[in-house]
Symmetry: C2
């Protein structure tokens, strides 16, 4: 929409401007109405949905919402003014066009009422409407994903997504490669053409036996934009994207979706060290949390915004994987992980961590018990080929990487310095038996002036979950896709 400023600028510059700005063209939103001289005597027209309605003999009170704010506006409709019939036909879920003006509310609870002079039903709502005022289960709402945006919770979540979201570059969605190893990807083919199964044998670099495909090569849905962002960072220095990613995971947890959005960034560095990357991630998240805690939706719908507030007030620790293991072993010594009662009482509920293995979620939760924590420098063997080898590493090799763990959530961000040295990159690829041909272009980035760079990926739905307190990521996206689930 044309802003007032842009409109005025056009007028001042003498450019003939034929179109009226959207503010004139569309009816006021409730937010605009409340913001602009609410004590005006002038009648205004607005449209919105009925959240709920109470009907008395000569008057009806309807809570009207148009999604522009978390606050419904109470419309006072006196039945004398209209054919009484029309009020009879207004139900929850109806779509109304109302003309009237704001008046100081006589009742308590809200500052302004909307005194209705004219009412028109733009859309009737069938009595079977599955969204009633009472609280519904998340399962019921997911089954009605096309209607749940009208609930307080989902509309607030969507406003929160919009607040958190700024998108810049567009990496490809359909790719010929797979960032994190095969097996969990989706394959893409024209609907009209049957697809033969891919032979997924190890290191079979000859693709000559594969049937011609739409794109000439097998096509997959992107699991991460990282490799392509690295190419862009080798021109634009600092790039980021918020774009969809896909994993064909069959697990049904409240942390996983088959289609999710990731904020990913790549930055050129002057030295290949992890410190600046952690500073950028921490700075970014503190800024996001600060903005969020001051937003209207945080204040109204998720009033505690406890997790974000707490994260802003604490120091974020930075510990190496090796030190984290020492801390966890001390906790085991102190009986932190001992089962207090029932079967297996007195025994550790989880085995002690072993150097060279990933961290269990129980251990991650312990490390992030008080504050966000960056765990850095994991063993090279459990991390992907593109992470930078720590040369000074004691005994088994580690890589310059991190996971950011948040209290109550676990991993939100993962990232690393990227291996910019071609010989080490080739060694890492060889060690993993990875096909060189497909990654020839990625190797080129090192061959042709590649320098130190680093990046990270942040699961956008997990961020929404953390700030809103909505536990399941399926409630953090408008139309969730997961194994066996695609309702709308």
């Amino acid at each position: 929409m044309l802003s007032w400023r842009a409109h005025r600028a056009l007028v001042l510059r003498g450019i003939r401007y034929y179109s009226r700005p959207a503010a004139y063209v569309l009816p006021h939103t409730i937010k605009q109405l409340l913001a602009s001289s609410p004590d005006s005597e002038i009648n205004t027209t607005l449209t919105g949905f009925v959240r709920s309605i109470r009907k008395q003999k000569h008057v009806a009170f309807a809570d009207i919402s148009d999604g522009s704010t978390p606050f419904p506006l109470q419309a006072v409709i006196e039945s004398d003014g209209f054919e009484s019939d029309i009020i009879h036909r207004i139900t929850s879920g109806s779509n109304l066009k109302l003309t009237g003006k704001l008046v100081k509310s006589a009742g308590g609870g809200q500052e302004w009422d909307f005194d209705v002079r004219e009412v028109e039903i733009l859309g009737h709502c069938d009595p079977a409407y599955p969204i009633q005022k009472k609280t519904h289960t998340h399962e019921h709402l997911r089954a009605n994903a096309h209607l749940r945006p009208r609930t307080d919770e989902t509309s607030s979540m969507l406003r929160t997504r919009a607040l958190l979201n700024r998108s810049i570059l567009h990496p490809p969605i359909i790719t010929s490669n797979d960032t994190e190893g095969a097996g969990e990807t989706f394959r893409v083919s024209p609907t009209s053409e049957p697809l033969e199964p891919l032979e997924l044998t190890e290191s079979d670099s000859s693709t000559s036996e594969v049937k011609p495909e739409f794109f000439g090569v097998p096509a997959f849905l992107s699991v991460s934009a990282q490799l392509h962002l690295e190419a862009l960072a080798h021109s634009l220095s600092r790039v980021y994207t918020l774009s969809p990613s896909f994993r064909a995971e069959r697990s049904q947890t409240n942390r996983h979706l088959a289609e999710f959005w990731m904020l990913e960034a790549e930055l050129q560095l002057a030295t290949p060290s992890l410190g600046p990357l952690l500073d950028v991630v921490e700075g970014l998240l503190r800024s996001v949390f600060d903005t969020y805690t001051r937003s209207t939706d945080a204040m109204v719908r998720f009033p505690e915004a406890k997790a974000a507030r707490h994260a802003l007030e604490t120091e974020w620790r930075r510990v190496t994987y090796t030190h984290a293991l020492e801390e966890l072993n001390r906790a085991h010594d102190q009986g932190v992980f001992v089962k207090p009662a029932g079967k297996g009482k007195g025994k550790d509920i989880v085995p002690r961590p072993m150097w060279g293995q990933g961290l269990r979620s129980e251990h991650e939760r312990y490390l992030a018990r008080d504050s966000p924590v960056f765990v850095t420098d994991y063993p090279a063997d459990i991390k992907p080929f593109y992470m930078r080898l720590n040369e000074e590493s004691t005994t088994p090799p580690t890589v310059a990487c991190f996971d950011l763990l948040l209290p109550g959530l676990g991993e939100l961000v993962g990232g690393s310095v990227r291996e910019e040295r071609l010989d080490r990159l080739d060694a890492a690829l060889n060690q993993r038996g990875m096909v060189m041909d497909e990654l020839a272009w990625y190797r080129d980035l090192r061959l042709y002036g590649g320098g130190p760079h680093a990046g990270f990926g942040l699961g956008f739905e997990r961020l929404v979950s953390f700030v809103t307190g909505l536990e399941n990521v399926r409630e953090c996206i408008a139309f969730p896709r997961a194994f066996g689930k695609m309702k709308v």
Copy 2:
């Protein structure tokens, strides 16, 4: 990154703030350096790629670019200051870390030079580097899509995309339905599972014979977010998204990609009329063009920005399809479409338009010959089921829709008022033999309080093409995907 304002706000509010803002952590970009006291005596460190280098006996002049601006910075490296060996090793494409300061340029051409005190090669560039200063063909650059972001043209195009781009809501990418009719979609399945061909028989609404799929139902890549945006507009009133869309088109034109980005919007209206929608689209585009023509990239890399400037200065016409046909017939009468020479001389190069058929591109170009033009109210039979029927239509029915045609480009935006009346929607679905089950949720939007609403879709790469003058949309996206083409 944390803005200065956010940083200061945190400090003023007394919140302990441990992370330093990104401005301190990362080296200055060239843009930041030029903006902040360029006559400073303090040495600064920056990193960037060598666009070109001229070496003389005791001094080398290297054009350095880090993507932050379209202007390279000339680095003056006196060989006395370093082992002369290092200058020998710097070539086009090298990645350098430079410490030095800005000085008034002695030569012409630019205001500032960077007087280098220290130089470090962060990444050597192999002599086979396929991006040399001379102009390359677009084909050559596409084959090196991972390196072409380092060219002036592609980096300017990417900055333009970032400028044009604001993203808000995230509709799903994987869907169970197809907005515009089957046949051109991509199908999605887990890589590890062979997929059986879908029986695409007409109106076969029984899905019971289809093998169980990952999502429980056949899954496709979205061709448009429209239907899902309509669901969101029925809560949030005004929504838009910039998200990827997919068409399995085999045509190799310079207007089509298999993966492209679309700006789509849906708006609740007080009355089901087309006027406000056209005003919004025109206002949006005028604002975008205005911003673009004042951007640095428009001034430097695409200095004429002719198309956008011209569009700002003209009146945008609005004609109905029926009137457009009259105009085209008059043009045929006047010999506008007559071939002037060679075989077929004196005959019309295109047949006269027929009411009830789509417009040919030659006719679209003629209609938009002088200025952008909205062509409205097309015959219902050649448009999709969701467009609103014009009741007052003379003789054959038309729908309340538009195509916006731009000079030199053709269609940029298409949109319509949506059919909010359930009986007319059902009639349109029946007439097209469409499966009701799959669209049950879409019908629900009418059943439960649906009111007048309208929306549009804008091809983002076409917008980039129009403002930059880059003719082929494959040059308007970082990593193009088209039939038979997926290089990187």
